[in-house]
């Protein structure tokens, strides 16, 4: 069955490359993704724990290369991620197939390139997810890096520049992974997961440290974990809208998947806690958890300062990745379930948010938060899609983002880590501030004159957005649906499996039942509506019929608060934004540059005198000493 899925995916990619420019090919590809989804669902036994164990589906393709056998397989963990990949691709492709593709073609873009990039991304991700040993993992990893580069490079010239920057990071990451693999081969004598698993307990602490750091930084690049986070936000922000929705939803999570696979499944959390740092309360697991939390805080509060909607969302994508890693690094049943569930939840709301922003760009031509406003009057459905998305992103009830974050908070309380808990909550609070600014500056406030005759987003865009909104709400109402899959993934990764109910977690130490919580919230809204309508009949007024301190408002008066939205906060924390990471990146770049110049000078022999001098000095040293 895995073969069918991979072949279908390969066929989609081939179709996109050959026939991507036809006007109907977007719809055909959407159907093909639907077929892939069906193929994946036919393997749904992977997604559920049956009779205490999980199944594995092997692919019949195996290769032997230089004595290494390469094989591919799907288990509960890969199935969970593959489900998100294919859903994201299906909906992004659907989103792109209608008016968006016509507009893109009219503007001179190559639809063939876009569709191929998307299909190749899906194919490469599936190959990565199916990897059954370190060699196939590395091959999949490289495919994914190149495929996402292809997608990022498609937009404007700017996009190509940021994509090149990503490529530099991705190369560095791939080198780290390759180094890790070499170490695996030296230590375990084989590139099979099982061999490393057996070899790890016998490894010395220092070589295990090197191994963990190499893999963590290699995969961390894709996740945009601090300090490798600089490439992502700009690159995603410049990616074509539907592509950004897809990449933002799932692409970075491939790093998380690889990290779970290698650090949690193969090496194991207990081995990570074995690695003590200088002082005895801090081990490799804590190091990763703190990196996750720092990523969360830095990225969220950077997002707060953005005034381009896409960049704001992309920064939040980096920050939310921190939650996932944090949850998995707590490694108890609640935390790891929260981390894994957040992968799903994040994919749903991030996709819908990027889609809404793309729809707004499609209609208005800009994503600059200082140039929009009041669009709710013209694009109400898009507003609601974005509202559901931001509630999910901020992690408030009743949407699904709340459940996964609740699991993480709850396990941090049980774990007794107040500082991690504080940081996790501070990240959420920062997110609330930032997403309010997003929705306010785009959809609320004053509607500009030039946007008075705007239409709602086209239906080809609206449908995927609505489907995602429904998924966000339903999986928030009945989180047990997703937690079933999460359980299978947990058990594959060797993490403790969370006992759950359809509504959440039943526990004598404080559980959560979202069915009740959401129902009571809906009941509250119903009562609130009744209370509102118990008052007198209201009259709608025009937006210019407003209090303006005695002045008259006219259509050309800009009466909107958008720039520097949180001045009080920035007054206090503004000086903390020092761009230290940018500075460090530049420093690194220029030192690499100078080293390259120096080496160039050496082998091109531009300064033969210097050579002579060096040889002279060395030989004198040799003779004299």
């Amino acid at each position: 069955m895995l073969d069918t899925l991979l072949l279908l995916s390969l066929f989609s990619a081939g179709f996109a490359i050959l026939a991507g420019n036809r006007s109907m090919s977007g719809w055909v590809l959407t159907l093909l993704y639907g077929a892939q989804l069906a193929a994946l669902l036919s393997m749904s036994s992977l997604g559920y724990i049956s009779d205490g164990g999980t199944t594995i589906i092997e692919s019949s393709y195996t290769f032997t290369l230089l004595g290494f056998s390469l094989h591919w397989q799907f288990d509960g963990l890969s199935w969970f991620f593959a489900l998100i990949v294919i859903m994201a691709a299906l909906l992004s492709n659907w989103f792109a197939s209608g008016e968006w593709s016509q507009r893109y073609r009219e503007q001179g873009g190559s639809l063939r390139m876009f569709y191929s990039a998307l299909a190749l991304n899906v194919l490469s991700m599936l190959i990565l997810l199916a990897s059954g040993d370190f060699l196939s993992l590395f091959i999949g990893w490289e495919f994914v890096s190149w495929a996402s580069f292809l997608m990022m490079a498609l937009g404007s010239d700017k996009a190509a520049r940021y994509a090149m920057r990503y490529l530099v990071y991705a190369f560095a990451g791939a080198m780290a992974v390759l180094g890790g693999m070499a170490l695996v081969y030296v230590q375990a004598g084989s590139l099979e997961f099982q061999a490393l698993r057996e070899a790890v307990p016998g490894m010395s602490a220092s070589s295990l440290w090197v191994l963990v750091l190499l893999f963590a930084s290699g995969f961390g690049v894709k996740m945009a974990l601090i300090p490798f986070h600089l490439w992502q936000a700009k690159a995603y922000a410049q990616t074509l809208g539907p592509g950004a929705a897809f990449l933002g939803a799932i692409s970075s999570r491939m790093g998380l998947f690889a990290m779970i696979l290698v650090l949690v499944k193969v090496i194991g959390i207990s081995q990570l806690t074995r690695l003590q740092l200088v002082f005895p309360f801090f081990n490799a697991r804590d190091l990763l958890a703190w990196l996750a939390v720092l990523t969360l805080i830095f990225a969220t509060f950077t997002a707060l300062r953005q005034h381009d909607a896409r960049r704001l969302l992309a920064w939040h994508g980096i920050g939310q990745g921190g939650y996932m890693l944090l949850g998995i690094m707590i490694a108890d049943d609640l935390g790891s379930a929260g981390g894994l569930m957040h992968v799903f939840n994040h994919a749903t709301y991030q996709a819908v948010l990027f889609m809404t922003v793309t729809a707004v760009i499609h209609r208005t031509g800009t994503a600059d938060l200082n140039k929009l406003g009041g669009l709710v009057a013209r694009m109400p459905l898009s507003f609601f899609a974005m509202l559901i998305g931001i509630i999910g992103l901020a992690g408030l009830p009743p949407m699904n983002g709340f459940v996964s974050k609740w699991l993480i908070y709850r396990s941090l309380i049980l774990d007794g880590s107040p500082m991690l808990f504080l940081a996790a909550v501070a990240g959420t609070l920062g997110t609330i501030l930032s997403v309010y600014k997003l929705i306010h500056n785009m959809f609320l406030g004053q509607l500009r004159v030039e946007y008075e005759k705007l239409d709602e987003a086209p239906w080809s865009m609206m449908f995927p957005m609505m489907i995602l909104s429904v998924i966000i709400f339903v999986t928030g109402y009945f989180p047990g649906l997703v937690l079933d899959w999460v359980n299978a993934a947990q058990s594959v990764a060797g993490l403790p499996v969370l006992e759950h109910t359809l509504g959440g977690v039943a526990s004598d130490k404080g559980g959560l039942n979202m069915i009740w919580i959401v129902s009571i919230l809906l009941f509250g809204f119903a009562v609130g509506t009744l209370i509102l309508f118990s008052g007198g009949r209201s009259r709608r007024v025009h937006q210019l019929d407003n209090y303006a301190g005695g002045h008259f408002l006219t259509a050309d008066t800009r009466y909107q608060y958008s720039d520097n939205f949180y001045p009080g906060l920035m007054h206090l924390i503004g000086p903390l934004y020092r761009k230290s990471f940018r500075w460090a990146e530049r420093g690194l770049l220029s030192s690499v540059d100078s080293a390259a110049l120096f080496m160039q000078g050496l082998y091109r022999q531009t300064q033969p005198v210097a050579y002579l001098l060096a040889v002279l000095v060395l030989s004198m040293y040799w003779i004299l000493v």
Binding site: L396, A426, I432, R537
Partner: protein, 296 residues
């Protein structure tokens, strides 16, 4: 059936107690300024007046939806707060859920104000959200400490543990520093003096309320009643052992609202950044010390 009755009664009780609290705060403020203060039923008159006004100005659907969310969110939140004899939905979501559920009404208000297209309102919301960031940081540390000490996030169980152990197991006695830090954040959580820079009538024309009139203003009034009640009951639950019976419970809750507010009324209004500085300095330091005390 019993539960359904509770779900209806709990918000209703909250509303009535909240009205009394509004009255109490007005009376306290009046007495401090050597005025007599409003008559007993003044909050009720206010609400009736606002809802029955003839001119009701709406700025659109989201304006109305925001007020619905603001009131409805609190109605839902009250059912998570156990009171004497009524457990409500306390077992369905504990203190963490409640903390986050309480942000739904704030978000609702923010959306409603945003739709009004008045920058004064938006500035007010920007300040209110910043204030939330300010007081939630120490508050979340307090929540963590309480949940950790009792080993549960279930509010009903936290009350039971304190009531079975008597006064010496009250949060106030067991974790005095956390209780102090919580007490310091209370006035900010209630959004009253001296932390009402987001309203600032003379500067931004009452901020979020600038375009609100009639039943919309009434909705905000109702929300305020719930807000006072929620904060009072939450603190009573975490640190004062909840209520054994209604008279004792109400006594505690009113005292929790009255005491810090009487002190806070003496201070002049804080600017947003000063509020952040204040909240992130002393309450956080005290809460951290308190955590060190209870966790070691």
């Amino acid at each position: 059936m019993h539960l359904l009755l509770e779900l209806l009664l709990m918000p209703l009780v909250a509303f009535i107690v909240g009205l009394a609290m509004v009255l109490m705060l007005r009376k306290i403020a009046a007495r401090l300024q050597r005025r007599i203060g409003p008559p007993f039923l003044q909050p009720v008159y206010d609400i009736v007046k606002l809802y029955s006004k003839e001119t009701q100005i709406s700025h659109g659907l989201i304006h109305e939806m925001g007020i619905v969310m603001a009131v409805g969110g609190y109605i839902a939140a009250e059912t998570l707060l156990p009171v004497p004899g009524m457990r409500g939905l306390a077992d369905m979501g504990g203190i963490v859920t409640l903390t986050y559920l309480l942000m739904v009404p704030s978000l609702g208000m923010a959306l409603g104000v945003g739709q009004c297209a008045n920058p004064n309102g938006s500035i007010g919301i920007s300040r209110a959200l910043t204030a939330m960031l300010a007081y939630d940081v120490p508050f979340i540390l307090v929540v963590f400490g309480v949940a950790w000490v009792h080993g549960t996030t279930n509010l009903a169980e936290i009350i039971e543990i304190q009531q079975q152990g008597g006064v010496q197991t009250w949060g106030l006695v067991q974790m005095p520093l956390l209780a102090l830090a919580g007490l310091m954040t209370l006035p900010a959580m209630m959004g009253k003096q001296p932390f009402e820079i987001y309203v600032a009538p003379a500067e931004i024309a009452t901020g979020p309320m600038v375009e609100m009139g009639g039943k919309f203003m009434g909705g905000l009034f109702v929300m305020q009643c719930f807000q006072l009640y929620t904060v009072g009951v939450l603190y009573t639950t975490l640190f004062l052992g909840g209520g054994e019976n209604w008279p004792v419970f109400l006594l505690k809750v009113f005292a929790v609202v009255a005491i810090p507010m009487s002190a806070a009324l003496m201070f002049p209004r804080y600017r947003t950044e000063d509020m952040l500085r204040l909240m992130w300095k002393w309450p956080v330091l005290i809460a951290l010390l308190g955590l060190v005390m209870v966790m070691t």
